[in-house]
């Protein structure tokens, strides 16, 4: 159980990046955090990871306060951040240094099979495509079997095909390992296709503005009317969060666009 208890973050220059964020994420739940740029969503994720410490409030994992990187919390960034001097296999096994060698190798090999890159075990990171590198990053984060996996716009640097592919892939891995996922994204489709719950944040100071539950059955059809409905609700909430006139009609259960694809 991941709990944020009145978390706030004020930078030394006085900018209030986060204000009074309280959130409980159940085990194996997938929560997406969306919001306009500069709304503090990455700051929030970094506070949960322990890379940054909040200036107020607490981050708790199973009742234990997180003040620095925690072995049960993994993180994936927008860039793969692979270590260029290690082979793919050594990158995946990076967090297993303290384990016996044969156990490390077995876990690494299994993880590479899982992400479909066994044949790249001895390759250097520079030899991978963007999608492959991000898969290695996912494998590296999952190998220590974290309870919570944080994803900071993990697929935003990838092309649309690879992104959809990796989203499905992430869901497969999640179905097997059941970690809690907290995902920061500015891609509403991504939030709707992955998350059980979508939190919309509002900037200056960063606050949780609206919560949208998405109980669509998995696997989710990106073209279905129900998908479109949730997506419209998120888009409307985003407009409201930025104090813009709402341009998206979120009251209709089907949109013309969704209907067209439905026929």
């Amino acid at each position: 159980m991941l709990t944020l208890d009145h978390v706030g973050k004020t930078y030394p220059n006085g900018v209030r990046a986060l204000d009074n964020i309280t959130l409980a994420v159940a085990p194996a739940e997938i929560v997406a955090i969306v919001g306009g740029s500069g709304c503090g969503k990455s700051t929030l994720l970094r506070a949960i990871s322990g890379l940054d410490t909040p200036s107020r409030g607490r981050v708790l994992l199973d009742g234990e306060q997180v003040t620095r990187p925690h072995e049960k919390i993994g993180m994936i960034f927008q860039e793969p951040r692979l270590l260029p001097w290690l082979t793919v296999a050594d990158n995946v096994g990076f967090g297993l240094e303290h384990r016996p060698r044969d156990e490390r190798e077995a876990l690494t090999a299994a993880a590479l099979v899982r992400v479909g890159l066994s044949d790249k075990a001895e390759a250097w990171p520079r030899e991978l495509s963007g999608g492959q590198a991000q898969r290695v990053a996912i494998a590296r984060a999952l190998v220590p079997q974290p309870e919570v996996l944080l994803l900071d716009e993990p697929f935003s640097a990838l092309d649309a095909f690879t992104r959809a592919d990796l989203q499905d892939h992430l869901l497969d891995l999640w179905a097997d390992l059941r970690p809690t996922l907290v995902l920061v994204t500015h891609d509403v489709d991504e939030a709707v296709v992955l998350a059980d719950r979508i939190m919309v944040m509002r900037p200056q100071p960063g606050r949780l503005y609206e919560e949208i539950a998405s109980e669509l059955p998995r696997p989710r059809d990106r073209q279905s009317a129900a998908f479109d409905f949730v997506k419209r609700r998120v888009l409307a909430a985003l407009d409201r969060s930025l104090a813009k006139p709402v341009t998206v009609d979120d009251t209709r259960t089907t949109s013309s666009q969704g209907a067209a694809l439905w026929w």
Binding site: L51, P80, P84, W85, S129
Partner: protein
Amino acid sequence: MRTGVKGVRALTQFFAPTSHPSPHSQALVGEGRRVAFRGSVMSLVRMTATGEPATAEPKHRKLTLARFTRPALGLLLPLVLAAGWEAAVHFHLGNGRLVPPPSVIYSTFAELAATGELQRHALATLARVAAGFGLGVAAGTVLGALTGYSSFMFRLLDPTLQALRAIPSIAWIPLFILWLGIFETSKVVLIAVGVFFPVYLGVTGAVASVDRKIVEVGRLFRLSGVAMVRRILLPAVLPSYVIALRSGLGLGWMFVVAAEFMGASEGLGFLLVDGQQLGKPAQIVAAIVAFAVIGKLTDWLIVLVTAPFLRWEDRVRTSTVED
């Protein structure tokens, strides 16, 4: 839609890169001109240490005739000049006393080698360079790491070191002789001063520019301070460090000549001065050739020793420098 996505997955795998030239052959190709392009290579190496994967794939280099004839073209001019001079002296168009023809240089070289003179002088010089290089590298590495790691140390030390760097190091010679005497100590210290600055600059820059994003990966996996240095910082700075060592060694060879000019009874620099004073130009050229050979060999030694640790480097980028 699911089937559609599966199709996409197959597509992306189809387009995934599969073949790469061996890192070894690329290493051979990239080597020759890297020293000449030191500055640009340095910045390229930094780029490779940031963890950004290269999406462009290296073109496979074929063993074509052109690959050997292109460098061979550069040999044409010196060979023609040498042969021309040899012929000119042979046919008494020039006397070759001040500018000895290649055959005379070769026989002088062979003679010096046969008597063991050459080896004695070369070893003396090599020992001085080794001692000075060792000292300079040690000091440059320690101070470079300190100033690169801590911005306080950088603000404290770097202005002074940069001011010292602005002094032409040869200007220290009279002072070093007064302080340290005419014998080995002053020579070794002068060489160490020459080696120090490129190593210091390289290390401080490399340490300061280690990618924060990569360091965060280390933090996420809760590396201790020692483990962070060993598993993240050292490998990240190694490419720049090797280049700094090579620049340092180059300056070491430069300064050993200056050091031996200021009074030595043996060493390749002594052969130069001796050749000038006794009017033996062939001996001077032979000593110069020895410098060239030994300098290149020691540089190659650094490359050879460090190559296994740098196989991960993106050689595609270095080969763009080469072309």
